[in-house]
């Protein structure tokens, strides 16, 4: 192979995602989560061979993923199902289904709160999003909650979300959302870098990709 490869931002993000995955983690994969699935498969093929996956659209735990797929999860899981919990167990928070999951929010704020519900004012929104699905419920039970954004921009990353669909709320004196100890926003991975929510709970730079500058981050963050 003699061509010179330049990593796409999706590849960079998937690589960063893979680094966040520990060897015994169960990684939750929702509908249409192509980049996290790629990252998790990379982790399994490198430093985390014991990773399992919970494929929510197949309703099953598997150890092997034969392919990246957006629409054939049940076929991908066929013959590979380790365990099939009832979704009603998962979403009633009785089963702490996964350790880590990677969500792509419509809006994310400086405190790690996310919005997948509506843009604008509650009483007269500019845009109603398709719905929260199970994300508010699942995020409350994760060991480590991650976000990713293929494009870091100041319409998505805002000081305060228009609507709190979920995320940590142990800020401003309010009690934490987390149902189970340890559940909190952990990191955000974008095309510019990796960001954490340190002790203060406020977003901060962990590392920036390649030649990305802090100025660029500031410009593209709201």
């Amino acid at each position: 192979m003699s061509h010179t490869a330049v990593a796409s931002s999706a590849e960079v993000i998937a690589t960063c995602i893979s680094r966040e995955i520990h060897d015994i983690d169960v990684v939750g994969l929702g509908l249409g989560t192509f980049i996290p699935a790629a990252g998790a498969m990379l982790a399994q093929k490198t430093h985390a061979p014991k990773v399992d996956f919970f494929m929510s659209s197949a309703g099953a735990y598997v150890h092997d993923l034969p392919m990246l797929t957006l629409t054939l999860s049940e076929w991908a899981a066929q013959g590979r199902v380790i365990d099939r919990p009832k979704l009603s167990e998962v979403f009633s928070q009785e089963v702490h289904a996964t350790h880590v999951e990677f969500f792509r929010p419509a809006q994310l704020d400086a405190f790690g709160r996310f919005n997948t519900s509506l843009i604008g004012r509650l009483d007269a929104p500019n845009l109603r999003l398709p719905g929260a699905a199970g994300i508010p419920d699942v995020t409350a039970t994760l060991s480590r909650l991650f976000y990713y954004l293929p494009r870091h921009d100041n319409r998505t990353l805002v000081e305060n979300v228009d609507f709190v669909t979920g995320g940590p709320t142990d800020i401003g004196g309010r009690p934490p959302t987390s149902l189970h100890a340890g559940s909190r926003a952990f990191r955000l991975i974008t095309d510019l870098g990796v960001f954490g929510f340190g002790d203060s709970g406020r977003m901060e730079v962990v590392s920036l990709h390649g030649d990305v500058t802090r100025d660029e981050v500031m410009q593209r963050t709201g």
Partner: protein
């Protein structure tokens, strides 16, 4: 409950459902939507239905296009990879009740167990209760903690499409069970449509519907199209893209024609080669 077998026609099964009923729809936005039965409800001109589903998509679109709907209760409604569900995105928000998986799961569990509510920590510190003024808090008599009392979700008819069912109404899948079993237990009655009617009572895979819940069983080949039905066929993404374009550009009535029988939906609308999965 009689001991006769329950196999009937789509028309007779649909006619069990009166106007103003609350129907629960199984599957998820990609798969196992009981579309043949929904087409029949549209054909019969059913109105004022309340729809409860977990992840809605083309099922909700078709019922809205057909003028069948009073209210939609769902955790999400979209066409997945194709994007927003165009008709749903434009209806009066007052018709839509925001659910999450937790509100639906606790609500259906409460209903199945004969309770009016179940408490939950879900959505407690989010803004979702602002969209649900009907939600009340309840105080734990042990800890004094206030939690959300998820109200029972009452369902008259669960509509469940599966790969296989028996004539007595046991139905199952080897794929994703989603919330169908709970929905069937919570509903007063269940109507099953299935790709294949099997002999009664052979030992089988994951049961989604126990026969005692089932009022009617209908054989419906490609009955989930344009959603998929594992392992028989996959979601028909090209059809959904056509639908989205048509609904956006030419409106609901034009989009409805995509679902018409002319003469047979199965023969004229489905490109079987496109949706078969070759492994």
């Amino acid at each position: 409950m009689t001991d006769r077998e329950k196999v009937t026609t789509l028309a007779d099964a649909a006619s069990l459902i009166p106007d103003s009923a609350t129907i629960g729809i199984g599957g998820n936005s990609q798969s196992r939507k009981p579309m043949a039965l929904i087409r029949e409800l549209v054909r019969q001109g059913r109105t004022d239905l309340t729809i409860v589903t977990f992840l809605g998509g083309i099922d909700i679109e078709l019922l809205l296009a057909g003028g069948c709907v009073k209210q939609v209760r769902a955790a999400l409604v979209s066409l997945d990879l194709i994007g927003l569900a165009p008709i749903y995105a434009s209806i009066d928000p007052a018709k839509c009740v925001t659910e999450t998986e937790a509100t639906l799961v606790y609500g259906m569990r409460a209903s199945a167990a004969g309770l009016s509510f179940l408490p939950s920590l879900g959505i407690l510190h989010t803004d979702i209760p602002k969209l649900r003024p009907d939600l009340r808090l309840v105080t734990s008599p042990y800890s004094g903690q206030e939690v959300i009392a998820m109200p029972a979700v009452r369902i008259d008819f669960a509509l469940i499409h599966t790969s296989w069912a028996t004539p007595l109404g046991t139905a199952g899948t080897d794929g994703a069970p989603v919330l169908d079993r709970l929905m069937s237990e919570a509903a007063n009655q269940t109507i099953v449509t299935a790709e294949h009617i099997l002999p009664n009572e052979v030992p089988l895979g994951d049961v989604l519907v126990r026969r005692s819940r089932t009022s009617a069983v209908v054989e419906a080949k490609y009955g989930a199209h344009p959603t998929g039905c594992f392992p028989d066929y996959r979601q028909d993404i090209a059809f959904l893209a056509d639908y989205a374009a048509c609904a956006k550009d030419r409106g609901a009535d034009a989009a409805l024609t995509l679902f018409a029988d002319s003469p047979s939906y199965e023969e004229t609308r489905i490109d079987v080669e496109r949706i078969l999965v070759h492994s």
